[in-house]
């Protein structure tokens, strides 16, 4: 059974329909990527799964439970965590406090310190800046903090909205390495990316979203080899 299953999801902003009934699933342990052009509805999909946006119709099932109408906080408490577009860290709080807030939903408070150590292993840079206010970090560091904060919640399923946005190429590589590393630790990942090339290179499967409908789907390797995808998202191959 899939860890996450989205069925016929329809979402609109007022009169504008952003998603026209999309369906997809993510199995336990997978990295699944959702690629598509600007405005295709990728962020809308993630936001709706996290209950930050209301669905008009359709069904979202997580871990066997219908979460379509669950509250945002209830979803986080079940280990479905999102790293949102544009980071959304607590700017005035220090790095340490941001990380502590990340662990807010956890019940096993004794193990928070261990998670913090794990996060520092992944992002040594954050450890050097523990007492710095989050808002004064560089863009790349803020992105790391956003990922680190999500990890502090001990996610089972991590939704990542364009983690490579605005990063220098070397940092993009680093972030994608870390995503694979997190996945190797048993965290299932749904990855939204503009950088289709990188996303498809680490994902198991992928979906191509175009103006609110899923156009293509399949194993990441097949999608990367698909001429349509190559033309539209991989710079013509």
């Amino acid at each position: 059974m899939a860890l996450l299953e989205v069925k016929d999801l329809v979402v609109s902003y007022g009169a504008i329909r952003a998603l026209h009934g999309i369906s997809f699933y993510v199995d336990q342990g997978e990295i699944v990527t959702l690629i598509g052009a600007n405005g295709a509805g990728k962020s809308t999909t993630l936001r709706t799964i996290s209950a930050l946006q209301r669905a008009d119709s359709g069904q979202i099932t997580y871990d066997g439970k219908d979460i379509t109408r669950a509250s945002a906080s209830a979803i986080v408490h079940q280990g479905l965590i999102q790293v949102p577009e544009g980071r959304r860290i607590f700017a005035p709080l220090t790095v340490r406090e941001n990380l502590e807030m990340g662990a807010y939903s956890r019940k096993d408070k004794e193990e928070v310190a261990a998670s913090m150590e794990y996060v520092f292993q992944l992002f040594p840079r954050l450890k050097e800046r523990l007492e710095q206010a989050g808002g004064t970090l560089s863009g790349g560091e803020q992105q790391m903090l956003a990922v680190a904060r999500a990890l502090m919640a001990k996610p089972r399923l991590l939704l990542m909205d364009e983690p490579s946005m605005g990063l220098a190429p070397i940092l993009v590589e680093e972030i994608f390495d870390i995503i694979q590393e997190i996945n190797a630790q048993g965290v299932t990942i749904l990855l939204v990316e503009q950088n289709a090339h990188m996303a498809l290179s680490i994902a198991n499967r992928g979906y191509v979203l175009e103006t609110g409908t899923i156009q293509l789907e399949g194993p990441a390797k097949e999608l990367a080899a698909n001429p349509q995808v190559q033309e539209a998202y991989l710079g013509g191959g």
Binding site: S50, A51, L52, T68, R69, A70, S71, A72, S73, A74, V76, H77, I81, Q82, P84, R88, I89, F90, A91, P92, L93, T94, E97, M101, G102, Y104, S105, E131, Q132, A133, G135, T136, R149, A153
Partner: protein, 420 residues
Amino acid sequence: MMLQKLRKPGFYFLGISLLIYIVIQVPLSLGLLNNYWRGIIFWGAAITMVTLGLNLIYGFNGQFSLGQYGFYAIGAYASADVTYRWLHGDTSGLLVVLFGSLLSLLFYALVAAFLRRFYRVSALTQFTYYTLVTIFAFWLTVQYLVPLLGPGTLSLLQALPEAVSRQIVFFVALAGGAAMAGISSFLFGIPVLELGSDYFGIATLGFTIIIKVLLDNTDTILPFPEMKGARGMIGIPQWTTWTWVFLSFMFVVIVMRNLLHSSVGRTILAVREDERAAELVGIDVASAKILAFVVGSIFAGLAGGIRAHDLAFLHPQSFNFVQSFNPLIIVVLGGLGSMTGTILTGFLWIFLLEGFLRLYLPPGFETWRLVVYPLILLLMMLLRPEGLFGQYEVPFLRQTFPSLRKSVQAEEEPLKEVAA
């Protein structure tokens, strides 16, 4: 070692508070402090309690509110009604605030447990349920409990010495006033805060105005002839003593301090910093806002009871919306998110503007106040936008959580370290 460290500031804080209590109680007992200054001190305490409530709502939780005076008024009138009726041999006020609020609380717990079984219940549905059970609770009390328990309570209390029964009645009156303010803020907060309205400030202003209109008509629209509507309520016993002021004040300070230091307090602060980020880490944003709002309003309601039983007279005009800017000015002057700042500024405000200036300036000054206040605010915004005391807190009140403006300070601090 750790424990000692934690206890020390609390120890000093309580010690100094007790000292202040004695320093004021002794001259009061010896008759060295005249009624004028006694009134000023009590008034300062009441306004400070109202403003601490506003600081919790606005300074610590980020919800701009103009509703404090509405809740202050509710607390004042509700508690005054209890003691007024008691003086006339009527225990109904006493029983209504006591059992009405207890039953409401019980029903709220039941409704909450019931609603938890459903996902994301709409704010209006919640509001309807909670309002209906509140009405039901008070109807039950008025209809059945008061006739049932009234005579017994009366004879029981009258069997006690007057000094004792008075304290009991006053305690219930104060708690009842605070509870009425809490219940109204809860019912008002559900639709307005659940909806995440950007118009919270306007809605609370509307609330204050509605309360003022209702108070003007307590004897016509509302069934409270003893409140005498726009003529003002007289005959309230002057029961507020320095001990009651002190205990209420300490209650407010310690509850607020402990709330802010708890994990719930962290959610309140996190919501202020970034609502969306708070949602993403799993905080129930609406609950955090409602909690801060209700607790802040309870403080205002308690202050209302204290003030009413010192003045012994209530007039709707004291709660009009111009007055409701008072706590707002104080909280901004003292520093949003600083309890110490609010406490110092609250007392200073009443001491200077109501105490000294009224004594030493020509009588026409009152009319100029509305010119002076905005000027003070304007100057403040230009010269010290973070408030007189910024984010300073005395050790006992200081939180581990940073302040709104820490990011600004954080840039300067490393430099100091290098210099040292």
